[in-house]
Symmetry: C2
Subunit: 241 residues, 2 copies
């Protein structure tokens, strides 16, 4: 009966009526007006997830770090940011009205303690030491809030993927985490990827494939887990009355 | 007479018969498999210079850092690199057969002393200090060689542009330097730019304009200065006999 009620309210448009917030791409942390610390995220996975969520009927807001990608058709709003602090401000402003947040951005963990207002001149023969400070953890911050969207995190790891992913899931209060192994022809800047999904009491490996296909399968799983754990409206229909 | 001889041998194809090597884009220095230190160069200016040199009749080799740009039509060869050390190897291999080298790449001054083989894990609450070492100065290294191409450097500065540019010209043994002011709607990632050219006994300001137009004017000036200082064949025609 629950199943029927859910099917009736969602139809084949699994995310119809839901607001999905997706972050994508890297963040860049400026050292001076010229130099920055970045990471290898191309944004392709996040943009593919935004496109898949549109196909599943959601109203999609996309927050993008510095990428060279066109906005997928049907995305309701795109907000471009550069640094982690800028991304945090955009996400926190949007999260209040989002039902689901998929954090596909590769957020920089650290930023320089100081940003030089002018280009740092090279001092011949001298080594340089760069003092970094921790960036805010955007999704963990949401996970600590009493009310927050269904939270889907990512873990890009070069080893011990499952262990780091399960640890992140619990520590940050996420509803689901998608772990991918980067390097060796997978992950950053590659068209293909492979994802392992984890949630508190289960998990699922998605087969290796193009990012657009993986994104579609991921969105199906997010919709399914969202319905099971968060779709209180649908549950109410099923309650004895 | 010199002027006529030069005009006759070059025609309107100012760089016909010459090999021009152009470097473009940023270099990225990896901290670990995920993170890197980069800079804001888009590569547009270098690619525009390569295209202009092709239009002026040169055989052009383009060495490019990580950029999102298509190779200009007519470029004989493109070599893609990531780090400064990789760029140095490509440039030094090509410079021996080049008549002119235009160093439009924004080469990273520093790289990490160590590159971590696996992703560096964040240690909650801890600051991080990054030890950097100086990168080789590619164009200065060429300037110290007994025989080298006609060397055109770039100086991207946020202040004191002329002073830094003239200092670089002399210190690195360049034939010409093109200085641009970055920031405030100019320079990196912008279509427009403004260049000031300096050589040992003179200089010239090119008016602000689109990078493709500036590149064309720069190539004209390079061809002119090259003829005056390096085209020994043409000078021989003019010698009394």
């Amino acid at each position: 009966q629950l199943r029927d009620a859910v099917a009736a309210s969602f139809g084949s448009d699994e995310l119809r009526g839901l607001r999905v917030l997706v972050s994508a791409g890297p963040t860049y942390e400026d050292l001076d007006p010229v130099r920055f610390i970045g990471n290898r995220s191309s944004g392709k996975m996040g943009f593919a997830i935004a496109a898949a969520a549109v196909r599943a009927g959601a109203e999609v807001t996309l927050v993008a770090g510095p990428v060279h990608l066109a906005t997928p058709a049907g995305v309701a709003r795109r907000i471009d940011v550069r640094s982690t602090v800028q991304m945090q401000a955009a996400i926190y402003a949007e999260a209040a009205r989002a039902d689901i947040f998929v954090s596909a951005a590769a957020v920089g963990d650290y930023r320089p303690q100081e940003v030089a207002p002018h280009k740092i001149k090279k001092q011949a023969g001298e080594a340089l030491s760069l003092a970094l400070q921790e960036n805010p953890d955007i999704i963990a911050g949401l996970g600590r809030q009493r009310q927050h969207p269904f939270l889907v995190g990512f873990a890009a790891e070069t080893r011990d993927v499952a262990r780091y992913a399960r640890d992140k899931l619990a520590r940050k209060g996420l509803d689901m985490i998608a772990a991918n192994r980067v390097g060796e022809g997978l992950g950053f800047d590659m068209a293909d990827n492979a994802l392992s999904l984890f949630w508190a009491d289960g998990g699922l490996d998605l087969p290796q494939g193009p990012k657009c296909e993986l994104a579609w399968q991921l969105v199906q799983q997010i919709a399914h887990r969202y319905r099971l754990t968060r779709a209180t409206g649908a549950v109410a229909v099923d309650s004895p009355a």
